[in-house]
């Protein structure tokens, strides 16, 4: 392989010789076109598209609720809406974004579409189960959506007892039932991925030839399988207490409200990695493709994915430093939380090292990836502030926390999602999007995001508590700045929705491998045929077989 500046395949970048279509079977999008063929499909690619459209819808609803929240906070005295309306708006935002967008986002769409392609399989292991999981997801999500949007729920996405079981007069019960149902969809998806990755790899596709994207989804699936049953249990207990006064969490019935927090965070902290790991997988595909260079330290990154998915189960108590848990527990959880930062840091440094001495193209997916790295680093390190006990006592439950987890979830997951969407859009749809518009939107989102959320770090350190419908007037300036940033961010989100949809009909036809990227998904046509590959794909000698290879390849891929 050449390690010089001349890159083979760069010439293929503006491919415009149409591919031969005579005798080719129709692709998965055009194989059938009835509604039935979509809603009863067992093709993982079509199910991925079903998920993509539904979570985009949920994203819009969650984003509108965020708009309502930012609108309310322009004035300090709550003059724009009542406290109840505000509380319901942030609950809609949290419930919809966390449960119906972030958790399924990358796994259920890109994971569904790409895992079989990347490992050279013709589908997931259980295609009917895959379709079932979409119906379960939609059933639960729509049920909850009716409750939170039409009825209104004012508990926040965390449903802390006894507020949620005994004191809230809003539609908590249907919301809880819906979220519980959605959990089963996660379990089914996780199960499907684990079995697929174990049993359906193409001949020659050994574990250490799998792309990091697949490693990340394997790790995510383990969390789906091991953690989701715990939140299901917790939610069922909440339902039992609210509906039938079974005393579990409410001291009035002999329960313990802190128990709910333990169960909740035992799932919800690993759930952060359900959101983060797939994003890391996406970035690990994009960065080598646009640096034309093998991913630095492939094995370390693969191990780090599994490491993160494991350690994340032992840090839930860092959400509870001020709830009266024992000081010893707090010390242990604090120390373990510092340990989680290590595998996360590995990835960031490895992406940076991958860019070093590469041959960079700053196309839209790469812009998103670089934005992701910057925001994820800030999000991760501010997490360490929160893990430091003495600092936590001050900034716990303030806007510092809000800023921190938006840097992880928007800066991390959403940017990775958008980067991946642009990267694989040609593969999904067979069309190219508008590159200039893509770059403009990526930059707008990065700027808008920082203007929205950076001031919230300061607000938090100044002591503004989160979930406040009204606030002291001295915080107004920073809040107005944050709301102004949200409008830039909104514009940044709107553009891709327009130009991507536009490209479906008017975009340039995409070749099989528009980025000259490596990985089996690029070996088949864009969009792929229903059974993925016309002939069995040939598994490359090493993963990330890009033109520029560092010498370390010899050490690690014997």
């Amino acid at each position: 392989m050449s390690a010089s500046g001349t890159i083979e395949g760069a010439a293929r970048r503006e491919p415009h010789v149409p591919e031969s279509t005579i005798g080719r079977k129709p692709d998965y999008l055009h194989a059938e076109s009835t509604l039935r063929s979509w809603f009863f499909t067992t093709d993982h690619k079509r199910i991925a598209i079903l998920y993509l459209t539904s979570i985009t819808g949920f994203f819009v609803i969650g984003a509108l609720a965020a708009g309502v929240v930012r609108l309310a906070l322009i004035v300090p005295n709550g003059a724009i809406m009542t406290n109840d309306t505000y509380n319901k708006a942030f609950t809609i935002h949290g419930v919809v974004m966390v449960w119906f967008f972030l958790i399924p986002s990358i796994p259920a769409t890109f994971g569904n579409f790409l895992i079989p392609l990347m490992i050279g399989a013709k589908d997931l292991a259980f295609p009917k189960l895959n379709l079932t999981s979409w119906y379960v997801f939609m059933g639960g999500a729509l049920f909850t959506l009716v409750a939170v949007v039409l009825g209104g729920v004012d508990t926040g996405w965390t449903f802390y007892a006894p507020l949620s079981t005994a004191f809230s007069n809003s539609w908590v019960l249907p919301a809880l039932i819906g979220v519980t149902i959605v959990g089963f969809s996660s379990i089914l998806t996780g199960l499907n991925f684990v079995v697929t990755i174990h049993t359906m790899r193409a001949p020659g596709m050994t574990w250490f030839k799998l792309p990091i994207f697949v490693w990340a989804h394997y790790a995510t699936s383990l969390i789906f399988l091991l953690a989701t049953p715990v939140i299901t249990t917790a939610l069922v207990l909440l339902i039992a207490e609210r509906a039938f006064h079974v005393g579990v969490f409410d001291p009035a019935f002999g329960g313990d409200p802190v128990l709910f927090q333990h169960l909740f965070w035992f799932y919800s902290h690993p759930a952060v990695y359900i959101m983060v790991l797939p994003g890391m997988g996406v970035i690990s595909e994009i960065v080598p493709a646009f640096a034309r260079k093998k991913l630095f330290g492939y094995r370390f990154v693969a191990y780090a994915s599994i490491g993160l998915a494991s350690v994340t189960f032992f840090v839930w108590g860092h959400h509870m430093f001020v709830n009266g848990q024992s000081d010893l527990a707090s010390l242990v959880f604090s120390a373990l939380s510092f340990a989680v930062a290590v595998p996360s840091a590995v990835k960031v440094y490895n992406w940076t090292a991958t860019i070093h001495k590469g041959s960079l193209r700053l196309d839209t997916p790469m812009l998103y990836a670089m934005g992701y790295i910057g925001l994820f680093v800030l999000g991760g390190l501010t997490g360490l502030y929160l893990a430091t006990l003495a600092i936590n006592q001050h900034i716990h439950a303030t806007y510092f926390v809000v800023a921190h987890f938006h840097y992880i979830m928007v800066g991390g997951t959403v940017l990775a999602f958008l980067g991946g969407l642009h990267f694989w859009w040609p593969k999904f749809t067979g069309r190219m999007y508008s590159e200039p518009w893509g770059r403009v939107s990526a930059v707008l989102i990065f700027l808008g995001f920082n203007v929205t959320f950076f001031p919230q770090f300061i607000l938090g350190y100044l002591g503004m508590p989160r979930r406040y419908a009204t606030y002291p007037p001295e915080f107004q300036l920073l809040n107005v700045l944050s709301s102004a940033g949200a409008t830039i961010l909104a514009a940044g989100y709107l553009f891709p929705m327009l130009y991507l949809v536009y490209s479906l009909w008017f975009g340039r036809k995409a070749p099989a491998n528009p980025w000259d990227a490596r990985g089996l998904e690029w070996e088949t046509a864009s969009p792929p045929p229903t059974l993925n590959f016309e002939r069995p794909p040939e598994v490359p000698r090493i993963p990330y077989d890009y033109p520029i290879q560092a010498t370390e390849a010899k050490d690690q891929h014997r």
């Binding site: 440094y349 003495a390 002591g463 007037p473 050490d555």
Partner: protein
Amino acid sequence: MTPDHPALQLWPVAASATAVETDELILAFTVLTLVLTVPVFIAITWFALRYREGSEADRTPSGIRSNLIEISWMLIPFLLTLVFFAWGAKLFIQSKNPPPDAMVVEVIGRQWMWKFQHPTGQSEINDLHLPIGQPIKLRIISQDVIHALYIPAVRMQIDALPDRYTQMWFKADKVGTFHLYCSEYCGTDHSVMGGKVTFMNPGDYQDWLVHAGAQQGKVASGRALYQAYGCAGCHEPGSAVRAPGFAGLFGSQVGLADGRTVTADAAWLREKILNPNGDRLAGGGKQVMPSFAGRIPEQELGLLVDFIRSYPATGHAAEATR
């Protein structure tokens, strides 16, 4: 006295030694954060420019074994951050062990107000007066859902749980009035569940206990109840419901719908709160106020009447003083 609020404040006031130490910790941590991240940001930007496709950069592999690099960039930042774990843990343990001579103030949280009781018996609602230079231990419990007491000036918060006591201690060293919040989401009026903490010189605190503590405390407590029971939502000038206001009400002659005239004294006001349907006002609008009989304890009714008594002849509840 209310806290000063400049349009843009960039650092919160520190009113205790622990607060200052917490600030030092966070500043030092920020320095470390910059040390760990700035190189990444600079490197990404530099690499993006230097190694753009088509640039004449040297791309020959550096030949450094990656395992060594990998292990060093895992371990070095980890060990550096561990210093901060230890520092934070030390401060935390210190903040968890109050000195035995701490003055104990009882704190009860409920939807949506804080009640404080001083060791000498005086109680306050939402506002808290405390002496400086004396360790204070707040013993905290909730009557309903989970709340959290948060005083940014001492960099401290702790949950108020419905089934067991939690505690917070600090020693304030700066006279002034600072915010006090509920920081655990507790329902509709979560963001209004708070007030002011005033740190005073010990002498002033003794004075306050003797004089203002009994009197000013009553009006302030009544005002807090007026907010907490939702009276203000209708009775405060400018509200949408336009219920009768309290300006100049106490002691005045009130004309009733049946032609009688009564004096708005304490007994009549108390009865009117408990039984709003009796004694309909002349020219009054539709009677929509619910009865509060059985919902407001007798002691709090007295505080509400005290508050109405001191309601200013013109203006708003905020100006009610004694």
